[in-house]
């Protein structure tokens, strides 16, 4: 290795190591609390004298007052996130296919509208969305959050998938049509297989968006048995004697599914999302 290259490596490490530590510290802190007993959680030690998995046991067995509905709330989060991922993918894939491959009329308008929605921060739409859901009698139903999140996720998903599908060679469609393929066959047999990386990336994006959502979940869902785990975690802070060790153990468990999903699909994520970054 040349001195120049070694110098560059050293400079990168000088930046990279502090950044890595800075990023890992909160996660370490969560983990530390999660394996500490109630009394030692605030001891300030870098490692607890007697690490314990009891907090996780308390969470799994729903042993604390704030955890009585843990499994129900975890299920709510999973169901809502998976449904949002599926519906967003369904809508965005069909829309992108129709606009990009079938060249339906009004496609450009839909694309511009999708782009326009990003001028409005999601938080601004929270109260109008609350009002709309109340008009439809959907407040406190999981569907209210699903519909809201699909509404928020779809424009970006359509935009990315349309740009990605524009890159597919037009000749493939022509060849399939010459062989007598209908639009549905074209969609199923040609379009979907070629778009798989982008579809996985967008599905994951929508799923994680819904999984991490707090504001809309907090506003649209009310009953303790209906809320997502993200909202339920907020209940831990309602007492001025918050059981931090349980909060962190629950938070750690709540962070595992998205981490696993991201890890499994990581090779699709970058390629899939950047596929729509540059117009073909």
């Amino acid at each position: 290795m040349s001195w120049k290259k070694a110098g560059t490596e050293a400079r990168l490490l000088l930046v990279g190591i502090p950044v890595a530590l800075w990023s890992a510290f909160p996660i370490y802190h969560i983990f530390l609390f999660a394996i500490s007993s109630k009394d030692s959680a605030f001891s300030g030690a870098l490692w607890p004298a007697q690490p314990t998995l009891r907090n996780f046991g308390a969470v799994f067995k729903q042993e604390h007052f704030f955890l009585y509905h843990f499994w129900q709330q975890m299920w709510n989060s999973l169901w809502i996130a998976a449904t949002v991922g599926f519906l967003t993918l369904l809508i965005a894939t069909c829309a992108a296919f129709a606009i990009s491959r079938l060249r339906v009329r009004g496609g450009r308008l839909v694309m511009n509208a999708a782009l326009f929605t990003y001028f409005i921060p999601a938080a601004f739409l929270a109260v109008p969305m609350y009002k709309a859901m109340s008009v439809y009698g959907l407040l406190n139903s999981s569907w209210s959050l699903v519909l809201a999140m699909v509404t928020l996720a779809s424009p970006y998903a359509i935009w990315v998938l349309k740009q990605a599908s524009d890159k597919l060679p037009w000749e493939l469609d022509e060849a399939a049509r010459i062989d007598g393929a209908t639009p549905m066959q074209l969609f199923r047999l040609v379009y979907l297989p070629l778009m798989l990386p982008s579809l996985v990336a967008i599905g994951t994006y929508a799923l994680l968006l819904a999984w991490n959502e707090y504001l809309y979940a907090f506003l649209l869902l009310s009953k303790e048995t209906n809320v997502t785990l993200a909202v339920a975690l907020g209940h831990f802070l309602s007492a001025d004697d918050s059981p931090w060790e349980l909060l962190m153990a629950t938070g750690l468990l709540y962070g595992l599914p998205p981490a696993a999903i991201y890890y499994v699909f990581r090779r699709y994520m970058v390629g899939g999302l950047t596929a729509g970054a540059v117009k073909a």
Binding site: D39, F42, K131, L138, F218, S222, L237, D241
Partner: protein
Amino acid sequence: MKSIGLYTVACAVALAFAQPAAAQEKLVVWFTKGFYAAEDKALDDMVAKFEKKTGVKVELSRYAVQEIIPKTVAALDAKNVPDVAFGHVYDFQVTSKWAYDGKLEDISDVINPIKDKFLKNTIETTHLWNDAAKKRAYYAFPLEQQTIHIQYWKDMLAEAGFKESDIPKNWKAYWDFWCGKVQTAHRKKSGKRSFAVGHPMGVDSTDSFYSFLTFMDAHNVSLVDANGKLTVDDPKVKKGLTAAMKDYTDIFTRGCTPPSSVNWKDPDNNVAFHNKTIMMTHNATISIVSKWVDDSTNDKLKPEEREQAKKNATELIATAAFPNKPDGKPFVYRAAVKTGVMFADAKNKKRGKEFIAFILEDENLIPFVEGALGRWYPVTKSGVARDFWKNDPHRLIVHNQFSAGTVPFEFTRNYKFTVLNNENVWAKAMNRVVSEKWTVEKAVDEMIARIKQVAN
């Protein structure tokens, strides 16, 4: 044909979603989530009894303390409000303002027939001015109340070489004792960097303004007169405010409270107390000891943990009143009355009023209040007369503090003080002194200017 099919599907979907809205008569109720399981159970029992009695389905939702106001504000903006709502911080931040703005329903027909059962200070708090209707009426109902207490570790005091009887009774000597003698001795004997006082000063904290306003009471400062008119131009008031601010910030500048206390939120003095970083703190409920009482009967904890919790609650932690005021007179505490409301836009006012009357019945209200293990004090005469408040040393102190009489918060006379509390002008002024090194006089001048700007 295709469009008919689509239309049919759309109608079916709409009907499926609309069905819950067309179910049996319902009442939407929002409550702050309890601090203890017993509170939630008492409310659940109450709701079940009400449902059985009336056949009305109660849709009960619970929210964390810090969440109920944003949620209610969103509901008000969307004009889709709950029928009845109760929040532990409504009184500090919104009840008076909502009443002033005409957003609340007049529930005098519920309160008037039963108003004699309430303690005078509590029912007065709910008699509010509606500027839209130009009338004063009962726009809220009281459920429970709180005031400020002192809690300290007896074992830490003993470790420092002092007895409880050594604690002075007069104002200056009291703070000098903790800040000077006890902290110095404890550090010397334990070798730990302990702090004598847990002194909340965070801007994002209700404890900090409750504590500061208590220091203000110690100096006999009243910021409004009986009609809610500001008195801050009175030189005596300014002098008292300056003295209160000096006393409050001195504890920080003398190094008697952890440096992090300038950023403390409400739970942080409790946390510092539990892990024995501090020896004493002032807290606007007896939540510190109530936590150990709760733990002592928690069957999810190990027997030795329950035993330690019991020891903490019964032997090691003391609840105490404040020392006498600087003028030597005994303290008169300010009480915050926790209020519930019915909104003017409520859909089911008839049943909502029935529900309010129902929860204010002794057999429903008492288990709810006592479920909080002493952290909230009753608002009814029958509630305070119960042995529950006399058969425990901590609760007895609370009872005695309330029994000596209380004074209301400024916002009960001038609703604009809810804005000042939200801004926490008090903690901002403290931080000017301790963080930005302003003089106390300059910080108080700025605080008074802001009070006049908002509440005049």
